[in-house]
């Protein structure tokens, strides 16, 4: 699976790509309908639309010279519109799809790698999705072994906590690589039970449709886990990292509740990063940021140190033309009686952040669970921003 152009008539690849780019360049709501080619023509070839396209290229450090002149772009759109209209009116078309390909290459290729995940990350996500890691699934150990291999390849030292009949916990640590500070990341590799009969696609097969990625557990939590694994693997510098990944989140985390208190006792971190986070349907990012108060205080708003991070994350979101809002709370989860074992262990004074790749349409625990594909690159950028902030803050503290 990849984001590529296809000849097959039912394919909406070009239209999806033009819609995604228009959302990024012109700030169309992220839940807007797919643009028709006529609408895309109007957006991209109007004076204002074309200027926004050029400015977007600059924001993403794409040489505007690589984009076609407005007049050329107009011709490319008109050629493809002619092909589509001719098909409707007298069953004629461009059999070589040259118009479709020309638009794809001229307009989308320069932005593609800036706005969508690369093939390696998609493969990682597809691999994780294919493993049935529900409590009754048979792939828990395979997944644990694979995660172990990935983490070790990234120079983490990993402690695997096991107990008969319980899904292992991975407690991974890595010393700083050229940056100060310490980040604790949380995640889980288990999912709810896939129910293929209730899905439109195979829940264990990562499927791309309408700019969204579908698969069991993709929003909770395999997608974010895969993005973070691949992003951190590609970073030359990083603060000290502690990564705790459990496998019973969907069945009330009994082993985690037993183990986390001792694992996380006394851990001092510059930031504690939640398993994922959300965007609103139209794109606005929810930045869940708080400081853990004492028992009487509860959740406290971000302190002075956290605000520069929030500002930087907001600037990242602005690159994608989406806004943000700050909420001082933890990520909503399907809490069981004992609550989230990670959040329960946050020490007083801990700085907590939840950012991620989901939106309200993700449908966590439901059939057709999905994530919007556009959030992935933003999350990758924001992870780098988090690392830089940790380095700065830790130096000051």
């Amino acid at each position: 699976m990849s984001f590529k152009i296809s000849m097959f008539s039912g394919s909406t690849d070009l239209d999806d790509a033009l819609t995604l780019l228009a959302q990024t360049a012109m700030g169309l709501p992220r839940d807007s309908n797919r643009l028709t080619l006529e609408q895309a023509h109007e957006h991209y070839c109007s004076g204002e639309g074309y200027n926004q396209l050029l400015r977007t290229a600059e924001r993403f450090k794409i040489d505007p010279e690589t984009l076609p002149e407005r007049q050329q772009l107009d011709r490319l759109f008109r050629d493809e519109l002619l092909s589509r209209k001719a098909l409707q009116t007298h069953a004629a078309r461009n059999v070589y799809n040259s118009g479709k390909v020309a638009l794809w290459q001229a307009l989308w290729e320069p932005f593609k790698d800036k706005l969508l995940p690369n093939q390696t990350l998609l493969q990682t996500m597809a691999h994780m999705t294919a493993l049935n890691t529900s409590a009754a699934g048979g792939d828990v150990q395979t997944c644990v072994d694979w995660l172990l291999q990935q983490l070790k390849a990234m120079d983490f030292s990993v402690e695997t906590l096991t107990n008969k009949g319980q899904a292992p916990i991975l407690f991974a640590r890595r010393a700083a690589m050229g940056m100060q500070g310490h980040l604790v990341l949380y995640g889980h590799y288990d999912t709810v039970k896939p129910q293929p009969e209730r899905w439109d696609t195979d829940p264990l097969k990562l499927t791309l449709k309408n700019n969204r990625l579908y698969g069991c557990g993709i929003g909770d939590n395999k997608g974010a886990l895969a993005v973070r694994l691949q992003t951190i693997a590609g970073m030359d510098k990083a603060p000290a990292l502690t990564w705790i990944i459990q496998g019973e989140e969907e069945i009330a985390s009994p082993f985690a509740h037993q183990q986390f208190p001792s694992l996380l006792s006394g851990v001092k971190a510059t930031l504690w990063l939640e398993e994922t986070g959300y965007h609103d349907n139209e794109g606005t990012q929810r930045l869940l940021a708080r400081v853990i108060g004492n028992e009487q205080e509860g959740d406290l708003p971000p302190d002075r140190a956290l605000w520069p991070l929030i500002d930087s994350l907001a600037q990242d979101a602005a690159l994608w033309k989406v806004g943000y809002r700050v909420e001082s709370r933890s990520l909503n989860k399907a809490f069981f009686q004992n609550g989230c074992p990670f959040n329960k262990q946050l020490p007083t004074g801990a700085r907590y952040l939840a950012i991620g790749i989901n939106d309200p349409r993700s449908g966590i625990h439901k059939p057709n669970e999905s994530i919007p594909a556009w959030t992935i690159r933003l999350h990758q950028r924001q992870l780098a921003t988090v690392f830089e902030w940790i380095n700065r803050i830790a130096a000051g503290e």
């Binding site: 590529k4 152009i5 296809s6 000849m7 097959f8 008539s9 039912g10 394919s11 050629d79 002619l82 092909s83 209209k85 001719a86 098909l87 009116t89 007298h90 069953a91 004629a92 078309r93 461009n94 059999v95 070589y96 799809n97 040259s98 118009g99 479709k100 390909v101």
Partner: protein, 253 residues
Amino acid sequence: MQLSQKQIEHFHQESYLAVGPLVDDSKRQQLTDTFSDLQRQWAQEQGESLEDYCRVLSQWTNLWKQHPLFAAQIHHPDITAIARQLLGVPQIQLFHDHLISKPPRHSKAVPWHQDYAFWPVDKPTALSAWLALDEVTEESGCLEFLPGAHLEGEQAPQDFLGSDKDWGERRAEVRKVPVPAGWVIFHSCLSWHTTAPNQTDKDRRAFICIYMDANCRWKSSHSDWHPTNAQVSVAPWERFNTDEFPLIQGVNH
């Protein structure tokens, strides 16, 4: 027209057979002139210059519905008699016709593919009768076949925009089939074929009729995206409706 046993065997072994001339120059000229008139008409209707229209569009489907000359052409007695003999069936039906143009300077290669993989038809008892409306040379993009590859059966449909079909050492077996104008190349729907771009300054047009056994049934699941599905008014697994998929009467019928 009766084919020899040797010709029929060639078709089955090699996946294609070139026969000609089957259409004389006068009829061929009428067909190309009529098509040029239609192009002018369509360009005007689309509000495009003829030059832009011809630069952008390259395939016209079901011309038999557009002009009586093409409606008669799909029933050409010799071509349809040969189609029946090669398919080994008493009655055939038109799946669709199409004219493909590779104008000078504005054409591309069509990658290696099998036609049947793209069709919503239940069995591969079908062939294309590829009538050269212009002389077709290696330089202008003649049909090329890999003889015998059709005997390996149906493969997954090739995506022309991402095709990477490579025959490796079998490339040496590829047969280029240039033909004079008025000749017809009959090729199996399972034949592996390709065409190169037209690198000459002359037109390269072919009028292609796809004939299937009249007992073929509509199987939309075999190709649910194919535009012809929209013309089907029967239920899945029934014979195609004859208003949109005309039965071709034989001389004895």
